[in-house]
Subunit: 276 residues, 2 copies
């Protein structure tokens, strides 16, 4: 007869720990699963926290933490923490040195490429705070908050940005239309004078985006442009311009800055519309 209780051998690496967690989490009772999720989401905290702190963070009793540790095969929290602490010191060669190391060895590896994108993303984000004019941003929020319906236009490379905007607006109950170009059905006629348009495009600019924005402008709708340089074709439309200078790695860019700008814009608009 097999004992169902705690596993006898404690995991001896973080990997093993999470593997076991993945296969055990399902059959754990409510509170333990709750804590399991907390750990999965904040593995970093274990090394530097007490039982009480983690318990509070996960909104669970300290004793539940102990039971969890035992369920995972440890004698108690201390033993589990020891594992996390030893892992911690391994990954401490911190971000900059790790990055350097990644670049140094095999420049061809996917990890090296990932490191490139991470680094480029980080500087793009940094730049973002200087390229986006706070006043223009506030204006954009005002205009979008006032609009009856918000239209998002952006294709190809810009589509992740507009689709994320669509998701965010939907979640906040803001009336918004994503012009996806599906089936080549043109939805331009949906754009009314009291609406506003968020047009997203980067060099080389997608024709269709410019066209649609131009027509929307003609009907009297306001335009908010997320683009890369002031000379962008959208400038001619008296659009409120939000500039993002996203750096490339090879032929691609990470879009981190554009996405961050978009989500900040969306959340601000949502907050303002819902009268927060």
């Amino acid at each position: 007869m097999t004992e169902i209780g705690p596993d006898q051998t404690p995991p001896d690496t973080i990997d093993a720990f999470f593997k076991r967690l993945g296969s055990t989490a399902d059959r754990l009772p409510k509170r333990l699963k709750q804590f399991a999720n907390f750990i999965a989401a904040n593995p970093d905290r274990v090394a530097v926290s007490t039982v009480a702190e983690l318990a509070e963070g996960a909104d669970v009793q300290p004793s539940a933490v102990m039971r969890f540790c035992q369920e995972m095969g440890f004698s108690g929290y201390s033993q589990m923490q020891k594992l996390f602490r030893s892992d911690y010191s391994q990954k401490w060669p911190d971000y900059s040195t790790r990055l350097a190391k990644l670049r140094e060895l095999g420049n061809e590896s996917p990890s090296a490429l990932l490191a490139e994108f991470v680094e480029v993303g980080r500087s793009s984000l940094e730049n973002l705070l200087t390229t986006v004019d706070p006043i223009a941003l506030q204006q954009a929020v005002d205009v979008l908050a006032r609009a009856e319906t918000i239209h998002m236009i952006g294709f190809r490379r810009a589509f992740p940005v507009t689709s994320y905007l669509a998701y965010a607006f939907e979640k906040m109950d803001v009336p918004a239309v994503l012009h996806s170009g599906i089936a080549n059905i043109n939805m331009e006629h949906l754009i009314r004078p009291n609406d506003a348009v968020i047009a997203v495009t980067f060099a080389p600019y997608t024709e269709m985006t410019i066209d649609m924005a131009t027509k929307a402008r003609a009907t009297g709708a306001d335009i908010v442009a997320i683009t890369d340089v002031v000379t962008s074709p959208l400038a001619r439309l008296k659009a409120i311009q939000l500039l993002v200078s996203e750096l490339d790695v090879g032929a691609f860019r990470a879009l981190s800055a554009s996405l961050s700008l978009a989500i900040a814009l969306a959340v601000s608009v949502g907050a303002q519309r819902n009268g927060t």
Copy 2:
């Protein structure tokens, strides 16, 4: 008359700590200087070690460690350790409380929110290098490069990621299908045994993504999962897991890390397929 003894105010940042250490180290007695050097060489250990462990590491008595802490202006070791631990967790900040604080200060301007997203994005990117296992990443690239057709599955919040993958693959002439769920047409039957699937989902997991991935797995296709924690339902599918811990600002996240991972993955796959 100036009291030479322990400083009254403890340093409140790591920087301040080391600055003070630099200016004090000279006039410290032998054992304390010895310990000071040890700390300077291993600042990382403080967050996760006991007095006894550090004392042993520096070949010094525990009481010397205490005297050192007091000499530096702390009430004792615990207080000093608190500083080092909080510094560590700055990399993994508790953004919900910070955001609450930000709101409390009445600084709810769009720019402040943007700054939040930028900061969160930057740490998420940093984390990315530690949460993504280079070996798993390489495996994922191999599997995808070998696949006849690549299928991308991901909805709602994950859709920007999959749509960007679709754009990148298209640009590199890699046969790839974006399962967009348009018109509720189910394209699962397109997935063949020699294909591979990239499934993207974050808690709370979208049912459809899990379902489709499960069915794909049943037909024999390989699964690469971009997800947030190992307890994700995708774990059960023997998927190659690429973990992203994206930090939230309120109910939203910037997606910077997820997008960066995706594009790095796509470019690596493209390069490998086109025999670079």
